[in-house]
């Protein structure tokens, strides 16, 4: 919020010093707003348009326009051969997706929420993640499993679990979790282009949230690197690591702390596996204090893994 106001003011002041604008490339004076939903939709659209091997499969992704409208308009644009509505059979369609990836296609398999991915977890781990290793490089699996993860608004215990630590413990998988629209676009594009199986953990409550995006982000070749965290807010007193929805909470907490004179550094992990340990380590070396924030269960969680580094 404060960020947008700051940018608008900057934009007006920039207009007065026009000739020098070309030097200040990093600021787009009139930042466009984009919801995470639009970001994901546009990323899917662009990747499907660029590569005919990319296709989308899941429950209600086609005629329903997506259970959360993430795949809106895609059926109309790409047809029923590339946007496939499946029956409610996760084990079956996840297996079919992995088989298609074995052959060389690039499936994007949507789980309505990652709670349902447990029905298909054998295919994610045993058929997708381990194949490249067991075949010594013959069978790469360029698949993306995506969908909302973690809690929504009061949906009950069976529909609220965070699977980040479950999937992140498995070698052979890459696990990503975006926060902002820039994250959503860049990471989903990177995931689809990546030749390894990627678990892409979104968040239902973030879908409707708007974030400013620069022209660079809107470009169809925009991609974020996998395995790099982002320092959302620089600070010097305490490091707060978070991913997905919790980044928003961490930033709000940092604002509250600022009023008390504590300068918090907020790291948006973006990539849970591989974890950007060097960014976290550098930050903690600077601040000497660490708070890890996550939605998942604390025991054996993402925070437990980050903490382990510093407990030695």
């Amino acid at each position: 919020m404060l960020g947008i106001v700051r940018q608008k003011m900057l934009g007006q002041s920039l207009l007065k010093i026009r000739p020098a604008i070309s030097v200040l490339r990093s600021y787009s004076s009139a930042a466009k707003q984009m919801t995470v939903r639009e970001a994901l939709n546009s990323a899917l659209d662009e990747e499907m348009s660029a590569d005919p091997k990319v296709f989308l499969m899941g429950e209600e992704v086609g005629e329903y326009q997506g259970a959360y409208k993430i795949s809106k308009g895609l059926l109309e644009k790409y047809g029923p051969e590339r946007v496939l509505d499946t029956p409610i059979t996760e084990a079956g369609f996840a297996g079919i997706g992995v088989g298609a990836a074995y052959y060389g296609l690039k499936p994007v398999v949507e789980f309505m929420t990652f709670n349902f991915s447990m029905q298909a977890i054998d295919h994610i781990i045993n058929s997708a993640a381990k194949s490249n290793y067991m075949s010594a490089g013959q069978m790469s699996v360029p698949i993306v499993f995506r969908g909302p993860n973690g809690a929504a608004a009061g949906v009950g215990a069976q529909h609220s679990q965070c699977y980040a630590s479950w999937y992140a413990s498995c070698p052979g998988l890459k696990v990503l979790s975006p926060y902002s629209s820039e994250d959503a676009r860049g990471l989903l594009k990177a995931a689809i282009r990546d030749p390894d199986p990627v678990v892409f953990l979104e968040n239902e409550l973030l879908y409707g949230e708007s974030f400013p995006v620069s022209d660079e982000v809107l470009d169809s070749s925009f991609c974020l690197p996998i395995g790099k965290a982002k320092i959302e807010r620089k600070g010097k007193d305490v490091t707060i690591t978070a991913f997905s929805k919790m980044v928003g909470y961490a930033l709000k907490a940092a604002e509250i702390l600022e009023k008390e004179g504590i300068d918090a550094e907020v790291i948006n992990l973006r990539s849970i596996r591989p974890l950007d340990r060097s960014t976290i380590n550098a930050s903690v070396r600077k601040t000497n204090r660490l708070i890890t924030v996550e939605e998942g269960f604390p025991q054996h969680g993402v925070g437990a893994e980050i903490w382990f580094e510093f407990s030695l």
Binding site: G92, G95, G99, A100, Y102, H123, A136, M139
Partner: protein
């Protein structure tokens, strides 16, 4: 039986040629020729929701001799693997296919290398029929670098992507949705090829199989589900595991065919029929009535849940190699001595491959960290003390 009638007519016509052929036999290679021959299958096909193909199978001497050689090779390979396991050169799991060779060999004769095959863990012979070498098999079983998966897969994880063999899967039933996914990709790419997804009678009750079959039927995928029914899911007989052991009918709305899996020609005919069907009409189920002589794996003597009489009975009455041997001899395509020579040759090939495989080294310790990702990220992996960089993940 129909065989003897054909045999008699063949010998009548060849009696004139006998003096000539015996003079030429020293120079005639045992590879046979392509002159057509029609053989009847042992039993007629039983069908479900479709019309069964004819019992008369078109073949030729060359094909029959190739069947004999390939099955003899597979049989010898599996028996050699048994000895290697008992000598502790192979560790872990080892599931042997001897008795079931006709399925691998008959299927391969009906299709091309562009068609895909995916199977479960009893995959040694299927790998060989797809073009894998004996060295790759034995080296992989012993965990050596010369193995097809460089020693990182083991018995259950043989792959040969360049001839469309997709493994080699340890989780019972998982290979069926994967196979339907391959069929989906073939249809998506408009390749006009099919996928054979093999599974056992034990896996036939898996839910994911029916999930995948449902989707395959809905989307008309060129998927052929082949149930290799050896009548025992590990130690559980089929009648104790399935309320309806008529696996070819279990597809309900999906057509099915029951085939004598010990008759390589019947398998060939059924697979040819299935391929034509799948390309036009979507999925079909083939049930191969077959038998394994060994137990489920090397740790199973195979006699606690079935009698030795049953095993020896099948070996005497239905052995696939003996069937082809009798066929070849009755049609005068080769002499008994020539066939014995083939078996000796094959034995030598297997022994040579084992010797070569034994010389291959074990994988380097650094291989623990390779191939985890197709595109690694240069992420460093530390040891438990987090002080020293042990490896940079490639």
């Amino acid at each position: 039986m129909a065989l003897s009638h054909l045999g008699a007519s063949a010998s009548r016509s060849s009696s004139l040629l006998k003096p000539l052929s015996s003079a030429l036999s020293l120079r005639r290679p045992i590879s046979g020729d392509n002159s057509p021959l029609t053989v009847e299958t042992s039993v007629p096909f039983t069908s479900h929701q479709c019309e069964a193909p004819s019992r008369s199978v078109e073949t030729n001497p060359k094909e029959l001799l190739t069947f004999f050689r390939d099955m003899a090779l597979m049989r010898r390979m599996e028996i050699a693997a048994d000895s290697l396991y008992k000598a502790k050169l192979i560790r872990g799991f080892c599931h042997l296919y001897d008795g079931q060779e006709a399925v691998a060999v008959g299927m391969e004769a009906a299709i091309t290398k562009k068609d895909c095959i995916i199977t479960a863990y009893r995959d040694h012979c299927t790998f060989v029929s797809r073009g894998g070498t004996l060295l790759e098999v034995f080296a992989e079983l012993m965990g050596r670098q010369a193995g097809c998966s460089k020693g990182k897969g083991g018995s259950m994880h043989f792959y040969k992507k360049d001839s469309n063999f997709y493994g080699g899967h340890g989780i019972v039933g998982a290979q069926v949705p994967l196979g339907c996914g391959l069929a989906f990709a073939q249809k998506y790419s408009k390749d006009e090829t099919v996928t054979f997804a093999l599974y056992g009678d034990g896996a036939a009750n898996q839910g994911q199989l029916f999930e995948a079959l449902n989707i395959s039927a809905l989307w008309d995928l060129p998927a052929i589900l082949v149930c290799e029914n050896n009548h025992y899911g590990m130690g559980t007989a089929e009648w104790r595991a399935a309320k309806s052991p008529a696996y070819y009918k279990r597809g309900d709305y999906v057509p099915g065919l029951k085939v004598d899996g010990m008759d390589a020609l019947a398998v060939k005919q059924a697979c040819k029929f299935a391929k034509e069907h799948a390309l036009k009409n979507g999925p079909i189920i083939l049930e191969m009535d077959t038998y394994r002589y060994h137990g489920h794996s090397m740790s199973d003597p195979g006699s606690t849940y079935r009698t030795r009489d049953e095993i020896s009975g099948v070996r005497q009455e239905r052995d696939p190699i003996e069937r082809i041997r009798k066929l070849i001899l009755s049609h005068d395509l080769a002499t008994e001595k020539e066939l014995k020579d083939v078996e000796k040759e094959v034995r030598k090939e297997v022994d040579d491959a084992i010797a070569q495989a034994k010389e291959s080294p074990m994988p380097e310790p650094s291989e623990l960290f390779t191939n985890v990702y197709a595109k690694g990220l240069g992420v460093e992996s530390f040891g438990a003390d987090r002080k020293e960089v042990r490896a940079t993940l490639p």
